[in-house]
Symmetry: C2
Subunit: 300 residues, 2 copies
């Protein structure tokens, strides 16, 4: 992959890639007051230590600058106005008044200089939920996405995304699959994500929707990508491109395939069950930290 | 644990326990023609290599002796007659005519010498599905169970169990838990199982019902037990107490906690999410083999 160094501000590098100055906030869905309403899963209701709005509060806290601007990007959503209104409401409740919605619907929109100019002034951007294929199909390779990556790499921009907006940050983006299954080859479909977080495959609503086997299939296909499964109302805050901290009421599941000793994934046909030996799994909770292997840096 | 050596036939030992001469067939539920009907999950329908009745055929093939006797034990079931009739029908279709049903409903039944005499003549026994707590509560410590364990240890008895009948074979038996969750301490309940298979916790309907997190909690509680998650229409055949072979159309999930580097399970309160690092996971398919660590032998 070619690394385009747009400015000379960077000094630190890792594996030939600049270490980003910005942060990523990757959210597993249903963070309090999301577009899907604020129902919590049964498990979250039972967790007495559930902290309302904890994740979005942290997002606001991480914003740099005076009167910081949050840009809401409902490009994944089929109801962009409704979704944006809900985020505007909750961010105002959290004390942020400087809000803009960039409602990109087409690839032409993603070339509009007016929108990239807004990104240049942002302290944070929020990708809402919806359909992650909309995000890659509309934003992939666009000037709008370039402007976000450039500011994330060279300045202290916080890029947040929930549900589809989180999954699209992956290197390898899962976009279809049997939630309950995923044990047969071909039951999981992936494509290139927006690649803000390097060398990972992200999945969301992870425990509630039983998605671990489809993630194992993604990791078996390329152990160079670490699987990160985010439960609802659970997020990771990533700094320097690979230092992650868990925030929220649920668990983050890490699937590390670096030590896989065998898999049949390249030998079997579609429709056959895949096997794997030696996958490593971690379950991490609020406040815990983890370093994503070989995942420093960003490219544009 | 005290090892009662009822006979002197044994010679091999492992960790002070005799190596059983019998075999275990542990089935994840919905093997073809089970009590729950023979609907297959969507995943199984999609698997073109699904082999009808493969597991029960293997059970029949493993039976020793001429005109071998299969004893059907519907003790877990609330509909013992219906369940037994279905097994009688399918075993007859597979060519076994010598069938007996031992319908134990109470702890008194489990002391009935007539029933233990039947076990003495059996080549195989089949524990049906139902409620695994019925099995441990009614059979635990009974002369009937002793007679099965004695013949499994010293002779070539095949002990099969499906769904609840499989889970009850565990050392640590899971009997309640949020299938979709299990990430909060206390969402998974376990008790001592019938302990036919040593140092394991068995769960069934594993992928279809998304039970991996509750199994991780069981393993975090005591990594001395390997977690074995059986998908529907998938089984393990265990010989010598720990050499397992996978049979069927789905996957067997192994969770090995021996190398767990940290967990908070003993520090948190009920209702809080548990964490774990360094859990090892294997997904195994039809024909693959695995040696359960430290699990040779049986005790009565």
């Amino acid at each position: 992959m070619a690394v385009k160094q747009k400015t000379e501000k960077k000094s630190k590098q890792h594996l030939g890639l600049p270490i980003p100055k910005g942060k990523l906030l990757v959210i597993g869905g249903k963070e309090s007051k999301s577009e899907e309403g604020d129902e919590r899963s049964e498990a979250q209701e039972e967790n007495e230590n559930f902290i309302s709005e904890q994740i979005l509060k942290r997002f606001v806290k991480e914003l740099k600058g005076r009167n910081p601007l949050i840009v809401i990007i409902p490009a994944a959503s089929s109801q962009p106005e409704k979704t944006s209104r809900e985020y505007e409401k909750v961010f105002k409740q959290l004390g942020v008044e400087n809000l803009k919605v960039v409602d990109i619907r087409t690839r032409d929109d993603a070339k509009n200089p007016e929108y990239t100019d807004i990104i240049k002034k942002a302290s944070g951007v929020m990708f809402t939920g919806g359909d992650q294929l909309r995000l890659t199909a509309i934003l992939g390779g666009s000037p709008f996405l370039e402007s976000i990556k450039e500011r994330y790499t060279n300045e202290q921009l916080i890029v947040a995304g929930t549900s589809a907006g989180a999954m699209a940050m992956s290197t390898s983006m899962i976009y279809a699959g049997e939630s309950q299954g995923g044990m047969l080859k071909g039951q999981m479909s992936a494509t290139a994500g927006l690649d803000l977080l390097k060398n990972v495959a992200i999945d969301t609503h992870f425990i509630d929707r039983g998605r671990i086997i489809r993630m194992a299939q993604a990791v078996a296909q390329n152990p160079g990508c670490i699987g990160i499964g985010l439960e609802e109302d659970t997020a990771i805050l990533v700094k320097e491109g690979n230092e992650m901290e868990v925030i929220g009421s649920g668990l983050v599941t890490i699937l590390d395939g670096m030590d896989i000793s065998s898999t049949n994934i390249y030998e079997i046909k579609a429709g056959e069950p895949f096997t794997i030996r030696g996958l490593k799994m971690h379950l991490l909770g609020d406040g815990e930290t983890y370093t994503i292997p070989s995942s420093k840096g960003t490219v544009t």
